[in-house]
């Protein structure tokens, strides 16, 4: 039995505007990021002071390229979700809120595309 009033039904599912999706996706990406960030930190330490060729060879290896791509996708989506709640919490009811939320979504997507493009370029020897 839904506890929603008809207006609530029309307005959309709670403050995230999409029910529990935001919560679950945040946790899912968090779970994926635990091993991915672990790998990332280890790689970062190993790549300390690496020159161009060393860094390139690292990312040319398929496993590293795939894990980096996974980190980009999961990480930037997790970031988008997190920044979304920060904006929703601190920016109120004005046009600024919507502009920021839209910039967050589009900006995160653009960053992800840029990251994936770069990984592909390196992997394909460009």
């Amino acid at each position: 039995m839904s506890l929603n009033t008809p207006l609530k039904d029309v307005r959309g599912l709670g403050s995230a505007k999409d029910g529990t999706t935001h919560f679950w996706h945040q946790r899912l990406t968090a779970l994926a990021l635990v091993p991915l960030v672990g790998w990332f930190i280890v790689s970062l330490v190993c790549l300390s002071g690496a020159n161009f060729d060393e860094a390139r060879s690292f990312l040319e290896q398929p496993l590293n390229a795939i894990l980096m791509a996974a980190l980009i996708v999961a990480g930037l989506y997790h970031m988008k979700l997190g920044l979304q709640v920060v904006i929703e919490d601190y920016v109120h009811g004005t046009a600024a809120k919507y502009v920021l939320l839209i910039l967050n979504t589009l900006g995160s997507a653009l960053l992800a595309l840029a990251g994936l493009y770069s990984i592909l370029t390196i992997g394909l020897g460009g």
Partner: protein, 130 residues
């Protein structure tokens, strides 16, 4: 959508003493926002690596500068803290560790762990020739 109202908010900062629960919670959010900035730089690094040696060397030169190293240090500190505190959150999501003593213990463990991880990573990085 609610328009901006001028209704008063329940006081919180003026009322509650800083506690490990609230301080670690806002630190988690602050670290997250800091990591968002760091993500920007990570993508820049990837793009530079894809673009060519000149661009890569320029990015690495910035990374080696004083301000670059400070930013990197802040980034690693944020990532270590956000990772460990995030795992703490995931345990809460499973319903575990909600008692005040457990929350305090896990909070201290996260802080100690984050500091330790950051120091270890930097010691190793300098050892590798940063």
């Amino acid at each position: 959508m609610a328009e901006k109202t001028s209704r008063p908010l329940s006081p919180h900062l003026q009322v509650y003493r800083p506690q490990i629960s609230s301080m670690l919670s806002i630190a988690h959010r602050a670290a997250g926002v800091g990591l968002a900035v760091g993500a920007l730089f990570l993508v820049c690094w990837l793009m530079a690596l894809a673009a060519g040696a000149a661009q890569y060397d320029a990015v690495m030169a910035f990374g080696g500068s004083i301000i670059g190293r400070l930013m990197l240090f802040a980034f690693t500190a944020a990532i270590n803290y956000h990772l460990l505190n995030g795992i703490r959150h995931l345990f809460w999501d499973m319903g575990k560790g909600f008692s005040i003593p457990a929350m305090t213990r896990s909070g201290i463990a996260v802080l100690v762990g984050a500091v330790a991880l950051t120091l270890i990573e930097w010691a190793l990085a300098y050892g590798m020739g940063a």
